[in-house]
Amino acid sequence: MSPPPGSGATAWSRAAYAWALAVGAGLAYFLIRMPYQVSDDLEHILIAQAQSAWDILVTRYATVESMRPAMWLTQNAVFELAVGGRYFPTFKAVHLAELLATVVLFVRLLRVRTAVDFTALPVALLALVGMHTFSVTVREGYPVNHFMTVLLCCLVVVNLADLRPHWWHDLAAVLTCAYALFTIETGVLVWICLATVYAMGWRGVSIRGVIAATTIVLAYLMLRFMVLDVGTRTLGVTSSGYGFSVRNTGELAALFGDAPWKFYVYNIVCSALTVLFSEPRAGVFQFTQFVVRGSVPPWSVVNVVASTLSTTLIATNMLSRLRRWQRWTFERDDVLLLVFVAVLGANSAISYPYLKEVVMSPAGMFYAIALFIAVRDLLYRLRAQTSFSPVWVAVPLLVLSTAWSLRAVTLVQTLRTSAFVNRNDWAAAEERQDDVRPHWRERHRDAERLVRQLRGEVVNMPVPQPYTMPRWTRAWVDPY
């Protein structure tokens, strides 16, 4: 990539990448060792085995309420890439490549150049991986995690726009937008990122590129809603959190059948709140419920304190920039903050039919970027004002960094626990799938042999035993 205007990598930049890669490698270690979940994973692998890329394109370009041809084609391509039937290692390699690319592009966007920048980086990195919206994003494989793909695509287009203009940036941005859009519905956020940074003055991708990407989005919408009539999920299709519990489709229909828009508004507001405050969780006001009951587990306190403190910092930082924004003047950090606002808004809006934390992962990622800016500005201010009492900054920073560190540890523990659960599920994969086994044989004569091979591989993977974890640690680990 051509370097951005006025930038220059320093030793601090290299240290930042090294730090990020250490965090990424630590996560990668647990990811490699963890078997994927059975649901979606096994079915998708069997589809990749049974159908050629062309068959997939013809039969799966659109299904009920979803249009994800790029997702199916990617899974098929990775399946075909696997040498000697080494399917899990190949899918894991893609997963790790996506994770490490996400971490590197995330750090690149922060443009760490000084000791102060570097000091603010670790908290932001831990917010990225410790955020509850990131947990499923990194944990599950379908067998390619398309939620992670969307995160990566968002970072690709914003990084491209941050470069000097070049024709290939346009091409790459348009292709990235199209790929994300046809991978999963939240892919539209990639276009939101591109349009926002262009509107704020970043010109690494030209107006031609933005118009081309916009045309693809419009074509997608026409194809989906007018030509193919794929539609979208609405009230009553799936269960969702509301108030203090998860409601099934019947309960939701009874509550909101006459006015579904009330439920949609609830979901949009809760989606934004969960990113900003870690409450509610998937629509359920969990922390509030704990408080009312008089028994709040430490992990819940950690989550809410980390998010609330971070959001307060970000909001304070944004308020100080409002006057400049009103004059439509934007510095580099302003653009990143406004991308966060735009993605949070759009991400919440498309979450209207039901609440699922992983869907909010793009907003969660840009939240971590906004946090970096807020923490870094606070440190700069502290360095400039010697009369300022440092304790008032050091104590909240200590709480903030410790809380996000604990949340990152929770992710690691979640990966360890999931490994045990997933291996158990794989051990019984054939029984679990008894109702669909005849279809496996119809699809491909070797389907059952492949299931046995995959099951054998997973069952022979060592996983940590949950009973070896000290009981006291459970209170600190978010079980959701």
Binding site: A22, Y29, T119, V123, T402, N424, M461
Partner: protein, 151 residues
């Protein structure tokens, strides 16, 4: 301490420890030392007691007898070691999932074994397992006062 140094220490302390741990984990794994990803060696009864179907599958595929009693170390089931069959150990999970899993893989349950398991489930108030036995057979409940159980 200077104000910035104090704030920097506050911001970096916990993340630095965590990142150092990440490096140790990765380097340790490369050297074959994996303290955060080690699996204790279990026999079939212990795996059943821990609802560990992956290990059960692996041990049975390797030729383990799904009916053979084996010692279960403390504190997996109880505070002292007890010798039980995998099916009896599975009662400790309080759900019938592992029992069904074992039955599908060659574990046998005669009238005596059924009575022992049902009495254990009733003693432990493992409602799901009691329901499972009630659905599975209409033999009724045994007289548990006269059924010797391993705990």
């Amino acid at each position: 301490m200077k104000p910035f140094a104090l704030a920097a220490t506050a911001a970096l302390a916990a993340p630095a420890l965590l990142t150092l741990a990440a490096v140790v984990v990765v380097v340790g794994a490369l050297a074959g030392w994996e303290p955060l990803w080690n699996e204790p060696t279990l026999n079939l009864a212990e795996a059943a007691a821990l609802n560990d179907r992956g290990t059960i599958q692996r041990l049975i595929a390797a030729g383990a007898d799904p009916n053979a009693p084996a010692p279960v170390r403390p504190p997996i089931l109880k505070s002292q070691e007890i010798v039980v069959t995998p099916l009896e150990a599975a009662v400790g999970t309080r759900t019938p999932t592992t029992i069904e899993f074992l039955l599908a893989r060659g574990a046998g349950m005669d009238a005596r074994e059924r009575a022992v398991m049902l009495c254990l489930a009733m003693k432990d108030e493992a409602r799901e397992i009691v329901d499972f036995f009630e659905k599975e057979s209409s033999d009724g409940h045994p007289d548990c006062e006269h059924v010797p159980t391993p705990w």
